[in-house]
Symmetry: C2
Subunit: 378 residues, 2 copies
């Protein structure tokens, strides 16, 4: 299901020297934003507008982050919202905005002014329009990200590939639904979904000043809250995995699943610590079953851990156990072959200390990450 399959959603986008994507989407809205203290002026303005709980449109520019641009940045973001609101014939505050790109550069308002009318004229609700929007908001992404629920009307489009860390990735994610909930309820459910998915994702440990996740509902259908929550989390989880897969230069994506932790907090920090370890990430790139680095990352995570833990690699079709209740099984040869065969797998750890569990998502660290990020121009 494309986002434009949700009733009343129309969109379009262009990608030339910069990117511009727009969505016409009358509805109730909730947002979750970056925790970075020097957040983008676009985030400031979006937060303010979304706080009313209602929007009629969304405008996204890619190329400049509008971060660390001060008062000018605030004025620029407001101006862009105003330009779009005139076309939509609504209040300036009913437009949400997001920016992604280089920090310290202002939005090119002139360019948007010149291009917005024709992009708006071309707005529509076909797959082509959805693709144009998805493509327009990308930066270093190798592919646009989309996900939807198979059960109920939830559809999401996102961008993100680097500067990805708890809390939240340099990512923009826009989720559309028909489910009837008020803005407060949407916010509660979105916050929880983000905590369990995007906030457990790490590409490089850097948290961007621009992260924005919006959830927009046209209020057409009644859906049970339990079902909606579960489906929303699934959609966010899929997007998070796609971002890891597109992690700058990454060739492998892995989930870390920690079970048997004393507390949920322990499970979370243990899983995140492993998914974030550069030494684990480079080992995986090299198909090296260097479980010592996993053990080291567990040890410094801050979680309660004891020697008697179990560790295995698992994919859809196979499983290699490396440590069983503290005993090394000498399966490194098998594990190496496993890594060579699998580009998507789980690192499973049972701490045997309690009932709590959590998962994190990571990707390998490769030559291309260094290449991309040492050459991406400031």
């Amino acid at each position: 299901m494309e986002i434009v399959d949700i009733d009343g959603i129309y969109c379009n986008g262009i990608k030339k020297e910069q990117g511009l994507g727009i969505v016409k989407c009358k509805g109730v809205v909730a947002g979750v934003f970056t925790k970075n203290k020097l957040r983008s002026a676009s985030v400031e303005v979006c937060k303010e507008h979304v706080s009313d709980g209602y929007i009629e449109g969304l405008i996204v520019n890619s190329g400049t982050a509008n971060a660390y641009t001060g008062e000018n940045g605030i004025n620029d973001a407001k101006e862009v919202c105003k330009l779009f609101s005139k076309l939509l014939n609504c209040n300036e505050r009913d437009v949400a905005i997001a920016s992604t790109g280089i920090i310290g550069r202002r939005i090119d308002v002139g360019w948007i002014k010149n291009n917005l009318p024709s992009v708006y004229k071309g707005i529509g609700n076909t797959k082509l329009h959805a693709n144009r929007f998805a493509n327009a908001i990308t930066t270093t992404d190798r592919f646009p990200k989309k996900s939807y629920s198979n059960k109920i009307a939830i559809s999401a489009v996102a961008k993100g590939a680097g500067m990805i860390a708890p809390n939240m990735s340099t990512m923009l994610c826009f989720i559309f639904t028909t489910a009837k909930f008020d803005s407060g309820e949407l916010h509660e459910m979105l916050k929880s979904a983000v905590d369990n998915t995007f906030n457990m994702l790490t590409v490089d440990g850097d948290t961007s000043p621009n992260d924005t996740v919006l959830l927009i509902s046209n209020q057409k259908d009644r859906v049970e809250r339990d079902i909606f929550e579960a489906e929303l989390e699934k959609v966010c989880y899929n997007i998070a995995k796609m971002i890891a897969k597109d992690g700058e230069g990454s060739t492998k994506v892995f989930e870390v699943e920690v079970t048997g932790a004393k507390s949920f907090k322990d499970a979370k920090i243990a899983a995140k610590s492993i998914a974030s370890s550069l030494l684990v990430k480079t080992a995986i790139f090299g198909n090296d079953p260097n479980w010592g680095r996993i053990i080291a990352a567990l040890g410094y995570s801050g979680a309660l851990v004891k020697h008697e833990l179990s560790l295995s690699f698992e994919s859809k079709n196979e499983c290699v156990k490396l440590i069983e209740k503290g005993k090394r099984l000498e399966n490194e040869g098998e594990a190496k072959k496993f890594l060579e065969r699998n580009n998507e797998f789980k690192i499973k750890i049972d701490l045997h200390l309690g009932d709590s569990h959590a998962r994190a998502i990571g990707c390998d660290l490769t030559h291309d990450y260094v290449k991309l990020n040492s050459e991406y121009t400031s």
Copy 2:
């Protein structure tokens, strides 16, 4: 001043398929160890022995970390101490031990048993002996690390190149002095020096299970505490900088100096956050004055930061200001040339919010880091 210039210090070492270094050093001792919860069995045993406040010798093996080796590891470490204590004719508990190398591998006690007698026979107090010891304890290091005070008798030898992070690096550092302090005083001063130097150093964010810093005094001289503290910190700081310079694959080393912070804690986390950011590290590798990434790292550090900050690059001979009280100065061209010219420099940030300051040490992230760590065999 070599470590063997301290009265009563004799040492030797060999480096073949593995490394073995020994020091004869009767004296009062204090130690600071890794905070990793799955710490090496050698650390466990060393901590226990050092807790008596007195040692007669130190034995170090390189190649195997003796981490995650359970009860066997404890027995191996004790056995190695015993072997050395017999030669020194002292109690087994009066021998300190340290290991560095691959996690999950046991110490090759047989190999040590075979080689220790001849290494002990060759013990001496010349520069050659000091070099042999320094070289024996290295692993992926490109050079051994030594530092000493110009004012008083403090001399240190260390190893460390990767798995370097707050808190503490995968590093071993042995510091010898003639200054007369009791074990408790030595511990206090060592702890404080380590906090301000090694714990502010980050190569890759991974904390090893093996970090060990020992301070050993033969009690020959009276030294004022203030002077000793300052000199000890200088020595540790020099070693920390050498480790950053030798950071796996690194080509540039930089200090982050944060001033004008609201609190010391803020200054510390802000400095560390920048020094640890992969995006900052890759930008520096690429000679890219991408100050947006520095701003992003400040923003997510957790420290109180506001828009009106100042940012500059500084080396011994030159300074390029990038931001002055929140105003971008458009000196990126100059800054790029600065980075091309300088392999050792400071990133200076004034937050203009208070009087606290702190510094951190970092190095760039390069292709060689990925190469080294994806190929280092498990």
